[in-house]
């Protein structure tokens, strides 16, 4: 029972996070693409 609860919690968190990341995040809109333009230490 407990492992089902933990599993479904992880899955729910992953689904919410993925949806936010893919559809509601500007992480890769070109301004600060994390793969290509490394994060800066400076105060953006």
């Amino acid at each position: 029972m407990w492992d089902t609860l933990i599993t479904l919690t992880i899955v729910a968190a992953a689904i919410v996070y993925s949806i936010r990341r893919v559809f509601f995040s500007s992480h890769c809109s070109g301004k600060d693409c994390e793969r290509c333009s490394p994060p800066t230490k400076s105060d953006h």
Partner: protein
């Protein structure tokens, strides 16, 4: 809140502005030994030894205040104080390459006319000295009637003089919001250039200048025939190294993931949590992580070539070839950037003056093989292409990888050619400053690789891992009906989606497992590898540790035509969502990204269809 001084770094391309910006602010913005790396303004800050807060703005390089491209117009507007919701700079720091004052002093004289507080940063003074160029700095300051400081941006204390100057002279007179500017007439330009020559004659002694070895190297490297052969050889060796050097570290990662999978099986009872951790997390995300060594080797070559000054030479070599398909050598740097990721490549097209050239380059940038495709290529090649030598020298897997990269490049040229036919394009000659050759800096190289590695791992953790967990969920639910014979995944949500999509993709040889992997591949291509790891792990076709042996599982489950068709698909496959949104941002509408999506999808489907059926005919499978 205390006032902070806003200082803008202005200068010609490749004079070291971004290196100076990084030195001042402790940032890690991308630098390279060629022009056009910075295409948007960047901001950072530092606190001076006297405790003053200084805001530093790094602007794209420009040779003058008369812009010829989008990135140059950003600089002009920032300098003139015309950017909305932005404080005009109180101090302009004009950065010049001390080895090339003849070209760079014109901008200094133009900036002087604005009347804003201005200081000249003589950058790369170490190189100037080593090349035998003697600059009388106090005399230069007198002639220009400007404060001049020496800087060596790549040296740890190389910006101290500039910081001290700002410290001593803050606060600067608050400038007007905007300053008027009129582009100089040809006569005015001539007089500016004459003034530059007079200043140089009085302040700079180049009689002992010795950088002839640059010319000697260029005689070979820029030769129309030898140069092209050297370029082909450099690229070829890069792809060979990706396969031959990565074996040991990849085996190591595979072994660690395999041990982790077995450990999970030992400590957890059979059930959902064990399946999630073993099939979803470890076999999914783990199978992507093992490609880290190959990505690092590819970037080691790219970073070394960037730092050496070779890349703009390659742009000149390819200018003629690119001209025949309607592109200029200016497209080379954006297209080269696209080998890392299409997004910075698409942004780098701002340096292209002609709007139609820019649009063409944006449209073909996704055909360059981005690093996210490498895990997919590497997986399929290691599964289906034998690891044996060719001509006793080369590795066959490396040769196939080289061919796949070439297929992307050739296709891009083909698309550009078609666009040229439609647009009656006029060739524009390439003008670009060639930087001096230098040995790649080992520290920069190591730092660059550490950053790339950290970003890849972060990406695996923050994008690939959550998506593979979602894929696992779709592949594990709903539970199979009681008494089912065969893999339960066929009855899961993912199995249903895969079988519906299979109707559309079966003509190109894709099975339902591949169809499942294609959807998350739209978020990030390498997720397709993780998705295949999870799907095959749940299918029970790979035993416990699919991550340890996904390639053999695929080799056993797929036919060669299917694998070749998938490789062909990935040469063209529509870009990830992030790239499409970057194109929308750069072009200002959804029309171009929609066109890109449709044409790439069409090409991918067509290429996979042809490849599949030709391979079927040859293999008789």
């Amino acid at each position: 809140m205390s006032h902070s001084t806003v200082a803008a770094l202005v200068g010609a391309p490749n004079c070291g502005k971004t290196a100076l910006f990084n030195r001042l602010t402790g940032s890690h913005q991308k630098v390279a030994n060629y022009a056009g790396v910075t295409v948007e303004r960047k901001e950072g800050s530092l606190t001076s030894p006297q405790g003053k807060r200084i805001q530093i703005v790094d602007l794209p390089g420009t040779y003058s205040l008369t812009p010829t491209s989008l990135d140059e117009s950003i600089t002009r507007r920032a300098v003139l104080g015309q950017l909305q919701e932005e404080t005009p700079p109180e101090l302009l720091v004009c950065v010049v390459d001390a080895t090339n004052l003849r070209l760079h002093l014109r901008l200094v004289l133009e900036l002087k006319r604005l009347g804003r507080p201005l200081v000249l940063a003589l950058n790369m003074m170490d190189l100037a000295r080593s090349h035998g160029i003697l600059i009388d700095v106090p005399a230069l300051s007198r002639e220009l009637d400007l404060p001049v400081v020496e800087t060596i941006a790549v040296d740890s204390g190389g910006a101290a003089g500039l910081v001290a100057f700002i410290d001593q002279n803050t606060p600067f007179a608050v400038p007007a919001r905007t300053v008027p500017w009129k582009d100089p007439t040809p006569q005015e330009l001539q007089s500016i250039q004459l003034r530059v020559r007079t200043i140089l004659a009085a302040t700079c002694d180049e009689s002992k200048r010795d950088d002839h070895w640059n010319e000697r190297i260029d005689r070979v490297v820029m030769h129309p025939l030898w140069g092209m052969l050297i370029l082909a050889l450099v690229l070829f060796l890069t792809f060979q190294a990706v396969f031959t050097w990565a074996t040991i570290p990849m085996d190591l990662i595979k072994g660690v993931v395999g041990i982790a999978v077995n450990w999970v099986h030992q400590i957890l009872p059979a059930g959902l949590l064990r399946s999630l951790l073993a099939d979803g997390v470890l076999n999914g995300a783990g199978s992507v992580l093992m490609f880290l060594p190959q990505i690092l080797i590819l970037f080691a070559f790219i970073l070394a070539l960037e730092d050496s000054g070779y890349l703009p030479r390659a742009a000149f070599l390819l200018d003629r070839v690119m001209g025949t398909v309607g592109l200029s050598g200016r497209s080379f740097i954006p297209l080269l950037s696209s080998f890392a990721c299409a997004i910075p490549g698409i942004m780098a097209t701002r340096t292209i003056q002609n709007p139609r050239d820019r649009l063409t380059t944006i449209l073909i940038a996704p055909l360059m093989t981005c690093s996210a495709r490498l895990p997919v290529y590497a997986l399929l090649i290691s599964a289906f292409i034998p690891n044996r030598p060719v001509l006793g020298l080369f590795n066959l897997q490396g040769v196939v990888l080289f061919i796949l990269y070439c297929a992307g490049i050739i296709s891009a040229m083909g698309v550009a050619l078609i666009m040229k036919q439609r647009a009656r394009h006029r060739y524009q000659a390439l003008m670009m400053e060639l930087p001096a050759y230098r040995l790649p800096n080992l520290r920069n190289l190591v730092m660059g690789l550490v950053e790339r590695g950290a970003l890849f791992i972060m990406r695996t953790g923050t994008i690939i891992l959550p998506i593979t967990i979602v894929i696992w969920f779709l592949s594990a639910f709903p539970p199979p009906p009681p008494g089912l014979v065969g893999p339960a995944i066929r009855h899961s949500f993912a199995g249903m989606i895969g079988q519906v999509l299979g109707v559309f993709f079966s003509p190109i040889g894709f099975n339902w497992q591949i169809c499942i992997a294609l959807i998350p591949g739209m978020v990030a291509r390498e997720v397709a590898v993780g998705a295949l790891g999870t799907v095959y792990s749940l299918s029970g076709e790979g035993g416990n540790s699919v991550s340890e042996a996904l390639a053999p599982v695929l080799a056993h489950s797929w036919s060669l035509p299917t694998a070749l068709a998938l490789l062909a698909w990935y040469v063209y496959a529509p870009q990830c969502v992030a790239t499409l949104s970057a194109v929308r941002r750069e072009t200002g509408s959804w029309r171009i990204p929609s066109l890109m999506l449709v044409y790439l999808f069409g090409l991918a489907y067509g290429a996979a269809f042809i490849t599949y059926h030709v391979a079927l005919a040859f293999t008789g499978a």
